[in-house]
């Protein structure tokens, strides 16, 4: 008996082709172009197929990662996508916007040697491959249970709950406030990072599975949660974090000062960059400052750049503390976004017509670590600086939209307006109401919302089976 040949470590993480920065900064097409099949197979073959894969336990939706990677290595993409979709109904999106570097890829055993498997790129590869095959494979759906579930919000959490429960034979209706499904995937994340055709494809897939989709319906206004409970056996609230924060500095209501939500909604949901072909306008400012350092701030700065502006990020800490994904920071840098680190806006100055013309900021230095573990920025006295500016986009965060909590008596709400829900089950303080995603956690990531949706779906299913 011969020893199985020991696999030679291949630490060469395969690069994914991208549009060159000088080209992509002038268009709205997707930046990353995806693996070709050969590259995907090469990358997949590097996987060591660990017996106890840490990547799986660090995935919020517990995808069998080595499983689908092995399928790619074997060239059996159809089997790979089946494994992927068993746990994740939105792979094309997660492959693009999940922070893999903090999840599956972070714990890859090859990570220490700098050669962690590009799980996200492989996930994306499979999903895009499937889309090119024409008709999607439909899973088998068990006989109808006769139980009805209302899902509030058509974002990542709601889509996951709906996908999971419909596959278990329950009847599911999603109520979405906007005129298009997808939540932040549609109104927030730009086309160049997540093409809307992909979101629409995933939503259509749910429709084909039999999910009833109702847009233009604001639960809390058009109908209350309690009224829905008269018709449905269970309600899941996934209404997201849709209440923008402002900094409360003088001049914040000047023309040309936007919330990130407004800027991105005009751009993505309403397609303002195609004005006047699409009738909702977005301004082509010359100089745009984006306040904040998260993924949303990067999206805004890169959007402004593509609209022809000199675009800068104003962030009160240093590069090291930027909460955005490294990949997005690097993309922004390559494209030419200017980063003003250790700066804090204190005032917006307007012209005689009420338009912003200048921004005044303070220079900061880093002091002792704060509660978040990051070093606290401290203002440097006398460092006031004035910079000419045509527009400011405030991308400092969002709170949960209060509408559902305010119209649902007895629903326990936390300090920040978030709905209180059990982390493991999504159960709220009210019987038959579950919640998950940003409305519970405050603004977080797509995959965490999906993870919460998955857990809630499991708990809802248990409840429905007990009836």
């Amino acid at each position: 008996m011969s020893e199985p040949q020991k696999k030679k470590l291949d630490l060469n993480r395969r690069e994914m082709p991208k549009q060159p920065p000088e080209v992509r900064r002038h268009n709205f097409d997707e930046v990353a172009l995806g693996y070709a099949a050969e590259t995907a197979i090469q990358e997949a073959k590097r996987c060591l197929q660990c017996k106890k894969p840490k990547c799986v336990s660090n995935c919020p939706v517990e995808i069998d990662i080595p499983g689908f990677i092995q399928c790619i290595a074997d060239g059996d993409f159809a089997a790979g996508i089946r494994i992927l979709k068993d746990k994740n109904c939105l792979p094309a999106m997660c492959g693009r916007v999940c922070p893999q570097e903090e999840q599956c890829e972070q714990v890859c055993v090859l990570q220490k040697k700098g050669g962690q498997i590009a799980v996200g790129r492989l996930e994306r590869f499979l999903a895009d491959w499937e889309a090119q095959q024409g008709e999607l494979e439909m899973p088998e759906i068990p006989a109808a249970t006769g139980r009805k579930v209302a899902v509030i919000g058509g974002g990542p959490a709601g889509l996951t709950v709906a996908g999971d429960l419909i596959k278990l034979g329950h009847q599911v209706t999603i109520f979405e406030a906007l005129h298009k499904m997808g939540g932040v995937l549609i109104y927030g994340i730009p086309e160049f990072r997540l093409p809307k055709a992909i979101v629409n494809r995933e939503v259509q897939y749910l429709g084909k599975l039999g999910v009833n989709i109702v847009t233009d319906f604001v639960v809390g206004k058009t109908r209350t949660v309690d009224s829905l409970l008269e018709e449905y056996d269970a309600v899941f609230v996934g209404s997201g974090a849709g209440l923008p924060w402002f900094m409360d500095v003088p001049g914040e209501n000047l023309n040309g000062v936007y919330s990130a939500n407004e800027y991105l909604t005009r751009m993505n949901l309403m397609k303002g960059y195609l004005f006047p072909q699409f009738p909702t306008p977005i301004k082509n400012h010359k100089r745009v400052a984006v306040i904040g350092g998260g993924n949303v701030a990067m999206d805004c700065a890169r959007t402004a750049l593509r609209l022809g502006a000199e675009s800068r990020i104003i962030y009160r800490r240093s590069r090291q503390e930027l909460p955005a994904r490294l990949e997005e920071i690097e993309n922004a840098e390559e494209e030419g976004v200017v980063f003003d680190f250790l700066t804090l806006p204190i005032r917006y100055i307007g012209d005689e017509n009420g338009w912003i013309k200048e921004i005044e900021y303070l220079k900061m230095k880093l002091g002792e670590p704060d509660a978040s573990g990051r070093r606290r920025p401290v203002p440097i006295e006398g460092s006031e600086t004035i910079l000419p500016m045509d527009a400011v986009v405030c991308a400092i965060g969002n709170s949960p939209n209060p509408l559902i909590a305010a119209t649902t008596p007895g629903l326990e709400v936390g300090k920040k307006g978030n709905i209180v829900a059990d982390e493991e089950t999504g159960k709220t303080s009210r019987d038959r109401i579950w919640a998950g995603g940003d409305v519970v956690t405050g603004a977080a990531t797509v995959i965490l919302a999906m993870g919460a949706g998955r857990k809630a779906a499991r708990s809802i299913h248990e409840y429905l089976c007990s009836l």
């Binding site: 209501n253 909604t265 699409f278 009738p279 909702t280 306008p281």
Partner: protein, 280 residues
């Protein structure tokens, strides 16, 4: 899709639409608004509601045909459908037994003040309704307004009906009234809201105005509709649309409404004849 039951110009440049939107109609209360889209990919247009029928499941809006999106909306015939009618949005107008309430409407507000007057009347208030326009041919729904008002007073810029002049004549109307006016409620263009509040401020009468800033989603998500009221910033879509007219920062509101003025006229510069021909 939401079917148009009725679509007609009610007075020059002012259009009335009645839409089938049962879920919206069921919950509607006076002072709330809806957002419509005339076509797929269309702008989201916030409009005050002028009437509704919960039983028939219909909602009626009256709006000025003023830009490309409202033009598109006005061009749709009864029997066709539009992709979006969402609501009811915003908070209802506060309706209590106040005593005597003066309801002031101008422009589309002549329509949207009607359900407010009706609700006030049902609460046993004495209702004085004042409607204002450039000329008498721009008035509509006079019979409906008379039904729910104890008194209907007109102001026209050209003096063709009632008082001649602008809303500033309101001061005389209030002073000459036998009743003590306990509250004023104004619906209409921003200038009417502002001038009306200017008139009532020295008289010390609580004045409620229904604001109409730029909006996108109408559910508190985008924040473009922010207005300064007193010393704090409010979102008109979720905190309003009704606010104390004596507390509103009018200069800021008027300024913010002009944000897209240059863009708004872009589609109007062409006759869109080509598009028309290519479609037919």
């Amino acid at each position: 899709m939401f079917k148009l039951i009725e679509s007609r110009m009610i007075v020059p440049n002012m259009h009335l639409l009645t839409l089938e939107a049962p879920a919206v109609a069921r919950q509607m209360r006076s002072g709330q608004f809806v957002i419509l889209r005339a076509e797929e990919d269309g702008e989201r247009i916030p409009l005050s509601v002028s009437d509704w029928d919960a039983q028939d499941g219909t909602v009626t809006v009256i709006f000025m045909n003023v830009g490309s999106s409202t033009g598109k909306l006005a061009s749709l015939a009864a029997g066709t459908s539009i992709p979006t009618v969402v609501g009811p949005l915003g908070n209802p107008t506060e309706i209590e037994e106040f005593g005597t309430v003066l309801c002031l409407g101008g422009c589309y507000g002549i329509g949207s003040i009607y359900p407010i007057a009706r609700a006030l009347k049902e609460k046993k208030n004495k209702v004085i309704t004042v409607i204002e326009a450039r000329s008498s041919y721009l008035f509509f729904w006079e019979d409906k307004l008379k039904e729910v008002s104890d008194e209907l007073i007109y102001i026209t810029r050209d003096g063709t009906k009632g008082y001649r002049g602008h809303v500033t004549r309101l001061a005389e109307i209030i002073k000459s009234s036998e009743e003590t006016v306990n509250r004023i409620i104004i619906n209409g263009c921003t200038f009417l809201l502002k001038r009306g509040s200017d008139v009532s401020r020295p008289l010390g009468i609580k004045t409620v105005v229904s604001l109409n800033p730029i909006m996108i989603d109408g559910t508190g998500m985008c924040g473009v509709c922010r207005v300064t009221v007193g010393s704090s910033t409010k979102f008109a879509c979720v905190h309003g649309p009704d606010f104390d007219g004596h507390q509103v920062d009018w200069a800021e509101l008027l300024q913010r409404r002009k944000t897209y003025m240059t863009e708004e006229v872009v589609p109007l510069r062409t006759s869109r004849c080509e598009e028309h021909i290519s479609r037919s």
